[in-house]
């Protein structure tokens, strides 16, 4: 079966999670959070969340502790850059291959 059945004649989609594809597949390095340094985790209070605010792919949750959706995280490293306590390290994906 080909793609004709989708009925589109140009690039078209409805907004939704994953409509741009699994962007996490491109990642070279992933953010790893050190909860001993992360302000909300350390204080157990909803505070800071700068990484949540700045993540361009909306892959970081506004929760305690923070969760990162690695299916869509592209590994851009903005979260690590904006973290005031340097709680996020960008770790090479090679380290996660078994």
């Amino acid at each position: 079966m080909g793609t004709r059945d989708c009925g589109h004649i140009c690039g078209e989609s409805s907004p939704g999670i994953g409509e741009g594809g699994k962007t996490g597949e491109w990642r070279n390095s992933r953010p790893v959070i050190d909860e001993d340094k992360c302000t909300p985790a350390r204080k157990n209070k909803p505070t800071c969340f700068l990484c949540w605010l700045f993540c361009p792919e909306v892959t970081i949750s506004k929760t305690i502790p923070l969760r990162i959706d690695l299916e869509y995280c592209k590994g851009c490293g903005i979260c690590a850059e904006v973290c005031p306590t340097r709680a996020i390290a960008m770790v090479d994906e090679e380290k996660f291959l078994c």
């Binding site: 989708c6 004649i9 140009c10 690039g11 989609s13 409805s14 409509e19 741009g20 594809g21």
Partner: protein, 410 residues
């Protein structure tokens, strides 16, 4: 001031230059959004349309923009929200639209553009040749070339019919000054008749806040399932559909021309036009207003005993290759006059005609002449002399099939 009232129930004749014919054509099609940036020799088209809008003869949005790139971007967005749109440009303006030409075709938006053919720099020149639109032949637009001002008006009306049926943008091309600034009698159809011919625009998709959609987001190489789990096109599938639509549009163009003829008495069922081709051994091939000189040249050659005819290209994209091969089947010499050059090769129409003849069984020799660049006058006598020269070379066995000859004084 030329009479602009076209609301009547009867067709009427007017003396119109090509630019006004294009503007009246767009008005009769009830265009809803016009965005254009003035450039010589297209400027009077934008002036006429802004007059129509200002006088409330045309209930449309006339959007002034800072560039041709923006003009086509506006038309693209307006078309995507469901409006019938029109723009016009020439030369460097068309070159500046280049990127958006691809976007409009790739989004399958039925925008109609009048291209008033003018030379491209360097050096500066504002006069006529067809290098501007020929340079855009690979952008996925249908290209129609008019021979006279009547054909400009008729082609604009047919363009909307074709565009909105095929979801392909259409460029109506006509020679700068030779047609754009020359008045000739034009029969202006009645608004009622055009309304009967052209139903309201039905977009293939409408950008609507109530039903949000993404258009033209990053589309990677391979097909993949969308958020709803439906397998959607990759980049290649979308581009294939564009090519398929162009290839199939021949039938729509022909049907739109046929129906136009039934309603208005001027038929355009063929993508080519012919003059005395039935028994022609020598074919003169031209595109655009050079038709008139070509017809005079062919008639003069006939008087001198050469069986000459004229084959004109009305539609250049989609290229009517099979029809051309059929029309040239019995010829022994084909002389192609191009007002453009594919630099490093030869004239674009000659190049494509040669490709069309490949495998068709015709043994005609093909000779190419580059003429009329930057407004250089082309007389019927020049065409006839070129044909006689090619014929004599052919008879001596010295005809070069490889190099285009330039009719200039170098």
């Amino acid at each position: 001031m030329t009479e602009t009232n076209t609301a009547g129930r009867e067709p009427h004749d007017q003396m119109l230059d090509g630019n006004r014919a294009a503007a009246i054509g767009a008005k009769l099609c009830r265009v809803q959004v016009v965005a254009a940036y003035p450039i010589t020799p297209q400027t009077p088209v934008t002036e006429a349309l802004s007059e129509f809008v200002e006088r409330r003869e045309l209930p449309a949005q006339y959007i002034t923009v800072e560039s041709e790139h923006s003009a086509l971007a506006v038309c693209s967005s307006a078309s995507l929200v469901g409006a019938r749109t029109f723009t016009a440009t020439s030369s460097h303006g068309l070159a500046y639209m280049h990127e958006m030409l691809h976007w409009v075709a790739g989004t399958r938006l039925p925008v109609v553009l009048a291209c008033v053919n003018r030379a491209i720099g360097a050096p500066w020149n504002v006069l006529n040749d067809q290098q501007d639109s020929i340079s855009q032949r690979d952008t996925g637009w249908i290209q129609i070339y008019a021979r006279n001002n009547q054909e400009i008006l008729d082609s604009v009306i047919q363009a909307y019919k074709i565009a909105e049926k095929t979801y392909l943008p259409v460029m109506v091309c006509y020679d700068g000054y030779i047609l754009s600034h020359t008045e000739m009698p034009v029969e202006v159809p009645s608004q009622d008749a055009v309304d009967r011919y052209l139903p309201p625009y039905r977009p293939h998709t409408v950008l609507d806040p109530g039903n949000p959609k993404n258009y033209n987001l990053v589309t990677l190489a391979n097909p993949r399932a969308n958020a709803e789990g439906v397998l959607c096109h990759g980049y290649m599938e979308i581009r294939y559909l564009l090519q398929e639509a162009l290839q199939k549009s021949r039938e729509t163009i022909s049907a739109a021309g046929q129906e136009f003829g039934e309603l208005f008495g001027r038929g355009y069922a063929k993508l080519l036009w012919e003059h005395r081709m039935q028994d022609a051994e020598i074919a003169i091939v031209t595109m655009g207003s050079l038709a008139l000189e070509a017809v005079v040249a062919a008639d003069a050659l006939r008087k001198q005993g050469a069986k000459a005819g004229v084959l004109g290209l009305r539609v250049f994209r989609p290229f009517p290759g099979r029809d051309i091969a059929e029309a040239l089947r019995r010829c022994r010499l084909v002389v192609v006059f191009d007002k453009n050059v594919s630099y490093g090769n030869e004239g674009a129409t000659c190049n494509e005609i040669k490709a069309a003849l490949y495998g068709s069984g015709t043994s005609a020799a093909v000779s190419n002449f580059i003429v009329g660049l930057g407004g250089r006058d082309v007389k019927a006598r020049d065409l006839a002399d070129a044909v006689k020269g090619a014929l004599s070379s052919l008879e001596r066995g010295a005809l070069s099939n490889e190099c285009a000859q330039w009719i200039c004084e170098i």
